[in-house]
């Protein structure tokens, strides 16, 4: 027995034998649910957006450096890889934005009942796809 956390993870199983309990829910044994899926995606989109800030930093630094540097950044963003990254960034941003508001509502004690958090979960997914496509439609028309 090394520390308190280990001490607290000891319990009896259904046969009365002392066992060490698993530390946390293991993703692979649970059926995916809308709640767990939206939660995992919130974290994944957050990490993706963190990578995306590199693009934003490049864009701002290039604009402040020279016309050539800015042209290079604009060329990259307009290239197939750049557009793919930008599309992924839009998707991640819209999702993290909508689901983030869902989280803030929960923190305020709103929408935390069983039918509500399922409905808002599906609404978040549908809204993400809809808003992302709308933004790109507007973007392509402007461009």
């Amino acid at each position: 027995m090394k520390d308190v956390r280990e001490a607290l993870s000891v319990a009896r199983n259904s046969e009365g034998r002392m066992v060490k309990r698993p530390l946390s829910p293991h993703l692979q044994v649970y059926r995916p649910q809308i709640t767990s899926f939206t939660s995992i995606m919130h974290r994944a989109s957050g990490v993706a957006l963190s990578v995306g800030t590199l693009l934003m930093t490049w864009w701002l630094v290039a604009a402040a450096t020279s016309e050539d540097a800015f042209a290079t950044a604009q060329w990259f963003i307009g290239s197939p890889i750049g557009l793919l990254l930008l599309f992924g960034w839009t998707l991640a941003l819209v999702y993290h934005f909508i689901n983030g508001i869902r989280h803030l509502a929960w923190d305020a004690g709103v929408g935390f009942e069983a039918p509500q958090y399922r409905h808002t979960g599906y609404a978040t997914l549908i809204g993400t796809v809809g808003v992302t496509l709308l933004l790109w439609l507007v973007g392509l028309v402007i461009w």
């Binding site: 308190v4 009365g16 002392m18 974290r43 930093t57 604009a63 402007i142």
Partner: protein, 134 residues
């Protein structure tokens, strides 16, 4: 049943309060929690404004970009966006690292790298914004 497995006996000498504290609650988590929520709140209007600006500037020339980024309102909004973004980002990545990296040395190294990178990138953005706008 008591003699079932003596090697797993709980023999940690610790008060109930100490055991609760050992779980990690009520130390500095509240500050992290509030920081994440308040920066999220700030990012709602700021990111809406930024997305609208990016749409407006699609395929823009260097001159058009400089013209947009000129002026106190845009400068202040951009700096607010950069500060809230990188502050929120490093708080979020900190939790991800703490959850998945169990080796002490690797975890500490990654936390320092992420927080350092957030400061450097935020400064790069802010200096660029000021250089364009001022």
């Amino acid at each position: 049943m008591a003699e079932a497995n003596k090697s797993l006996r709980v023999d940690v000498m610790r008060s109930q309060l100490g055991r609760v504290r050992g779980l990690g609650a009520a130390k500095s988590g509240v500050g992290h929690w509030w920081g994440q929520r308040l920066s999220a709140l700030a990012l709602i209007p700021l990111s809406l404004w930024f997305v609208a600006s990016v749409l407006h500037l699609l395929g823009a020339s260097h001159d058009a970009m400089l013209a947009w980024a000129n002026g106190p309102v845009t400068i202040v909004l951009l700096i607010c966006l950069v500060l809230a973004t990188f502050y929120h980002l490093q708080l979020g990545l900190q939790v991800v690292i703490e959850d998945y990296i169990h080796q002490d040395a690797a975890r500490l190294a990654l936390l320092i790298a992420i927080k350092g990178a957030a400061v450097v990138l935020a400064l790069a953005c802010i200096v660029s914004v000021l250089r364009i706008g001022l």
